[in-house]
């Protein structure tokens, strides 16, 4: 699991059948490097059963946890990452400042 920020939404028509009706959000890990020229962490696409908004910080889980959180059961489904929590408050005094911002000012509030 990791903490990330919702930075986008994805739509697809041609897809494996059980992705139909799933809201798919793009989540950038909070521990993304901000230094100029630093390598970027690849954003993760996660199913969103909770209705997270752009800019919100979320908890993303993988594998069985993601399937159970999305569908209430494990099984053969074509996704393995899901938003399992929307962060209300985060107290991480040693983390970079942007972790503690409600909406990310660099990428703009939604």
């Amino acid at each position: 699991m990791f903490l990330g920020r919702v930075v986008g939404e994805v739509w697809a028509t041609r897809k494996v059948g059980d992705l139909a009706g799933k809201r798919l959000l793009v989540v950038q890990p909070l521990d993304d490097r901000r230094e100029p020229g630093a390598p970027k962490v690849t954003p993760v696409v996660a199913a969103d059963p909770l209705g997270a908004d752009l800019g919100q910080r979320v908890i993303v889980a993988f594998g069985k946890a993601a399937r159970v959180a999305t569908l209430g059961m494990d099984g053969d489904f074509a996704f393995e990452a899901a938003i399992v929590g929307i962060v209300d408050e985060l107290d991480a005094p040693l983390a970079p400042a942007h972790w503690n911002e409600e909406h990310d000012p660099v990428r703009g509030a939604p």
């Binding site: 739509w11 041609r14 992705l19 074509a78």
Partner: protein, 109 residues
Amino acid sequence: MLIGTVVGNVWATRKDPTLVGVRFLVVQPFTLDGKPSAETLVAADPLGAGIGERVLVVFGRAARHAIGKGHDVGFQCAVSAIVDKMELQDGRTIGQVAAQDEPAPARTA
């Protein structure tokens, strides 16, 4: 799951028998700053994605399910969707191929 751009096709004759009949693509992960990611990955493709198309890549059980050849197979990474459109918080729209990308609309102060 991640988004990537199809940058190549791979063929192999000598391979694990469970890979026979499975199409494999080389996919380069998408990054928010548009810089090419350092790594590429190989993904099985049940949908017929073409070079340059953005795809959704899944791993593990989801990938085996996407291909539908059971769970005792020699791959763990597959394409599960071909992206129509991705809207980003910074205002950009990412299309199915790079030519369809649209920059963020200019902000009025």
